[in-house]
């Protein structure tokens, strides 16, 4: 879609089928690795890995890390690192939990279940996240303290700040509406999922068509129409296939009965209903689209990549790289808050150990997704795919019955190996 508008080589003639499609070979490689991984696990689990139920669980388990990974791309692209995201998530989750269970009901007198509860607590979490992020960014950009040190300190500070906010207690149960963003508790249902899928396909087609029209109006070489249609077809098939899979995961009959009972109706005999797309996945999609637009279509994104590619050149071009650092870290803080909302809502509680080691998962996801630690290179979709690969690896091994220590050993090896393959790829393509 819009990625092709930037990265395609726009060769006027097609040598063969694949060069005419002008696909991003690195993206293809990642998707290929992911598909192979899924198929292997599917064989070893006797077909349990690729059931609608497991696909559903995989997606909701990935969301929190994937949301943060999109922000980590910008951090790493500007040649920084953020080790504090897991702890920041804990602090923000604690703020949101205390806000909705204690502060707002007691201080403002809002009844439990009041719709303002979940809205205000998410807003409070976002504000705290952005402020903490901006503060860390200010120390990196204006005080010149290396990001590694600032956020290593943050890792310790925010994990334990969270402890003080909650007095070390598990806070919950959380507001019922709030927990809907966690995953299984809040889904679109079959009909709306199909509507969403069709709209997404329409949007993909429209974007591709508009990009093509713009290019031809400038007289640039464009892809052959059949290539464009093939790509559109593939995108449409994957979107609709994804929706179909999530819709195929049926709500258990007992739960369905409760839902009908709550609505004061009796459930018709033999009725089945699928879950459909979880709200948390919708949130991730929204974040992914917004972050991709920022990366490719805004000055902020352009300056982030320019600064990562050559900080001196960016400075000489009049870019305020210090303030840019603050913005990037503030954005990361805001995304930690969103991820924290999803993580706490999924558990239904805010716990002390929420988000522990997430910083490593997030960095690994970004790096497996092709973000170069040397700066200047990285994509949002790559980071999300990286998060999905990490999560699949972890839960696939758990399903196969690999011992927990061995799981971590494998994840560690895969991380190093993935980066090595990426280095080889870059050398080969001169990218």
């Amino acid at each position: 879609m819009s990625d092709d508008a930037l990265s395609g080589s726009k060769a006027p003639t097609a040598r063969n089928f694949f060069s005419a499609l002008q696909l991003d070979t690195r993206l293809l490689g990642m998707i290929g690795a992911f598909v192979v991984l899924c198929l292997v696990f599917n064989v070893f689990t006797d077909g349990r890995f690729l059931t609608p139920r497991n696909v559903f669980n995989l997606t909701i388990q990935t969301v929190s890390v994937a949301i943060m990974a999109t922000g980590m791309v910008f951090i790493i692209v500007t040649r920084h690192i953020d080790l504090s995201v897991g702890s920041l998530l804990a602090t923000v989750a604690a703020v949101m939990a205390v806000a909705q269970t204690d502060f707002l009901p007691n201080a403002l007198g809002l009844e439990l279940g009041h719709p303002m509860l979940w809205i205000l607590s998410i807003v409070a979490g976002m504000v705290v996240g952005v402020i903490i992020g901006a503060f860390q960014g200010w120390m990196v950009g204006y005080l010149g303290i290396p990001a590694f040190i600032v956020t290593l300190g943050g890792l310790l500070v925010w994990r334990n700040a969270a402890w003080f906010i909650t007095d070390g207690q598990t806070i919950g149960p959380l507001d019922e509406t709030f927990t809907k963003i966690g995953g299984i508790g809040g889904t679109l249902g079959e009909t709306w999922s199909w509507i969403f899928g069709v709209l997404a396909v329409a949007a993909a087609f429209a974007l591709q068509f508009m990009s093509r029209k713009r290019k031809s109006s400038h007289g640039f070489p464009i892809k052959p129409l059949w290539a464009e249609l093939t790509i559109s077809g593939l995108i449409a098939a994957s979107i609709l296939g994804f929706v179909a899979t999530l819709n195929a995961y049926d709500i258990p009959a007992a739960r369905l009965k409760r839902i009908f009972a709550a609505a004061g109706e009796t459930m018709p005999e033999g009725l089945t209903m699928g879950y459909g797309i979880p709200y948390s996945v919708l949130l991730l999609i929204a974040v992914a689209v917004a972050m991709t637009i920022v990366a490719q279509r805004t000055r902020l994104g352009r300056y982030i990549f320019a600064t990562g590619g050559n900080p001196d050149a960016a400075e000489l071009s009049g870019i305020n790289t210090r303030f840019l650092t603050v913005k990037v870290f503030a954005l990361m803080g805001g995304l930690c808050a969103l991820a924290g909302a999803v993580a706490a809502a999924r558990l239904g509680f805010s716990t002390n150990d929420i988000g522990t080691l997430d910083e490593l998962r997030v960095i690994a996801a970004a790096v497996i997704g092709g973000t170069a630690l040397s700066g200047g290179v990285g994509t949002i979709y790559g980071a999300i795919l990286g998060a999905l690969i990490m999560q699949s690896l972890q839960s696939g091994m758990a399903m196969v019955g690999v011992d927990a220590p061995l799981q971590n050993i494998v994840v560690g090896i895969v991380l190093v190996f993935a980066v090595f393959v990426d280095i080889l790829y870059r050398k080969r393509t001169g990218d």
Binding site: A5, S9, H218, R299, T307, G308, D312, L316, D431
Partner: protein, 262 residues
């Protein structure tokens, strides 16, 4: 005589006690090319970076069209139509030619989004004039040859209607053919009335391209002269010995004859 386009008066800057630029005054007239010469570390690049906004002078004054201006950042310099081609080219290697050309000055659509297609179209236009062989519009600039990278840097400087152009070693990384192209470009820009500061090590280049030379040594100005009034050897003497020949206007860094004779 007319008002100089640029006058840098009594500029000083030091780094940790070292006087990198020490009471230097130079000027530049419209349609003129002034060569800045000197050894490595003589302070030419530092002086020029003060004009381009990369450094801030400790003291001294910059006048443009006779009016004093304050240049605190590269943005200020660009606002005064001062464009610079740095020795390092200052390109973001991971971005394509158009993104580099418009870096910091992106064209945006009505909605405020960066308009890559419009920038590419403009880049194709200007590159068509500067370097018709340039074809790699969608590759990151690190995939380009030295000459192609140079033409991106030059295109960036001339695209935005510069009045004052600073070129730091513009031909250092170039082949014979490309050097010739830069020389032709300089002649063309001169005709359009731009003032150009040219930093170079190549005396031959300097005599071919420049109307005047200013020589620096140890952060001080040795002197300046019209290229028609001095010879290659005179200029070499200025660079190496700091000796100001007849026909040149001596500066504060000129070797006093008395000290030579003892």
């Amino acid at each position: 005589m007319t008002t100089p386009l640029v006058e840098m008066k009594d500029i000083c800057i030091s780094f940790g006690g070292v006087h990198a630029v020490d009471h230097v005054s130079v000027d530049l007239y419209p349609g003129e090319v002034v060569g800045l010469l000197g050894h490595n570390g003589a302070g030419k690049s530092t002086l020029i970076k003060i004009l381009s906004g990369a450094y801030k002078a400790d003291s001294g004054e910059i006048l443009i069209d006779g009016k004093p201006v304050t240049i605190n950042s590269p943005r200020d310099a660009r606002a005064e139509n001062i464009e610079t081609i740095y020795q390092t080219l200052a390109l973001a290697d991971n971005l394509d030619a158009a993104s580099n050309l418009f870096l910091g000055r992106e064209l945006t659509s009505a909605m405020g989004f960066v308009d890559d297609d419009a920038m590419e179209a403009e880049t194709r236009k200007i590159m068509g004039k500067l370097n018709p062989n340039f074809k790699k519009f969608n590759a990151p600039v690190k995939a380009l040859s030295g000459g192609q990278r140079q033409s991106v840097a030059i295109a960036r400087a001339v695209y935005f209607n510069a009045r004052i152009l600073i070129m730091d070693e513009p031909t250092a990384a170039l082949g014979v053919h490309e050097t010739q192209m830069v020389a032709e470009l300089i002649q063309e820009l001169k005709k359009q009335g731009l003032g150009i500061f040219l930093i170079s090590h190549d005396i031959h280049d300097v005599f071919q391209l420049c109307d005047r030379v200013a020589v620096m040594k140890n952060g001080q100005l040795v002197g300046s002269a019209k290229t028609t009034d001095v010879t290659d050897d005179d200029v070499l003497g200025m660079i190496i010995l700091g000796k100001c020949p007849e026909g040149a206007t001596p500066g504060p860094g000129a070797l006093n004859d008395d000290t030579v004779l003892g």
